[in-house]
């Protein structure tokens, strides 16, 4: 396998994780890539990324830009997002 192929393979095994509003500020980042290995549900991802942080408010989950329940399954290539209750309008 060439180096370019290796890189493509690794990217394909990743989950893209986005944070918004107060969560983005708390974590000090708006997005990151995580390995999909050993991760089954969106709540598994949340537990992984929020470890060590004190999140005092409700957190909403989305997968591929659709709201998701905590037990929804995630796979490599998915875009997962975590954010606080919405306050638009």
């Amino acid at each position: 396998m060439t180096q370019a192929n290796d890189q493509m393979y690794e990217e394909a095994m990743q989950i893209k994780v986005l944070y918004f509003a107060s969560l983005k500020e708390l974590f000090g980042r708006s997005e990151e890539q995580l390995s999909a290995e050993g991760v089954s549900t969106v709540d598994d991802v949340w537990k992984l990324v929020s470890k060590g942080y004190d999140v005092s408010h409700q957190v909403l989950y989305s997968i591929n830009q659709e709201y998701a329940q905590a037990d929804a399954l995630v796979k490599a290539g998915d875009e997962v997002a975590f954010f606080p209750p919405v306050t638009g309008g």
Binding site: F20, S62, Q65, F83, P84, P85, V86, T87, G88
Partner: protein, 150 residues
Amino acid sequence: MVKITGIAFDPWEELSSFQTAMKREGEYGACANFVGTMRDMNEGDVVNGMFLEHYPGMTEKHLEKIVQAAKEQWDILETLVIHRVGELLPNDPIVLVAVWSAHRKDAFEASRFIMEDLKSKAPFWKKESLESTGQTAEKNRWVEKNTSGY
């Protein structure tokens, strides 16, 4: 039509030009619209400005989904939803929801439905800049929750 804009907009001009462009004269007998505007006061504090964050991609998709759900439930001819993002000042329009239908029941109910769903589910977040008082310096505060309009 669903539109997210980072630039200040005039809801009355948007309504007027959209209604002219949609070319449904004679078909609609009702247009219900809601305009949400930024206040200069919240929870007892003077608010000088506000930052409106959104989730590019998901926000537009979600608004389209709300409009589609309204179209399935009511007899609607046209809809227009505009939402502002970025830096806002008091008195800036934040949101416009307009629904055209043959009769008022559909326009009233569908516009209410779209607006309430937008407030409770569309991914937008407000951060207020509060004026400093004698005791406190100017600070920023995330709005924590929207209350139900029903």
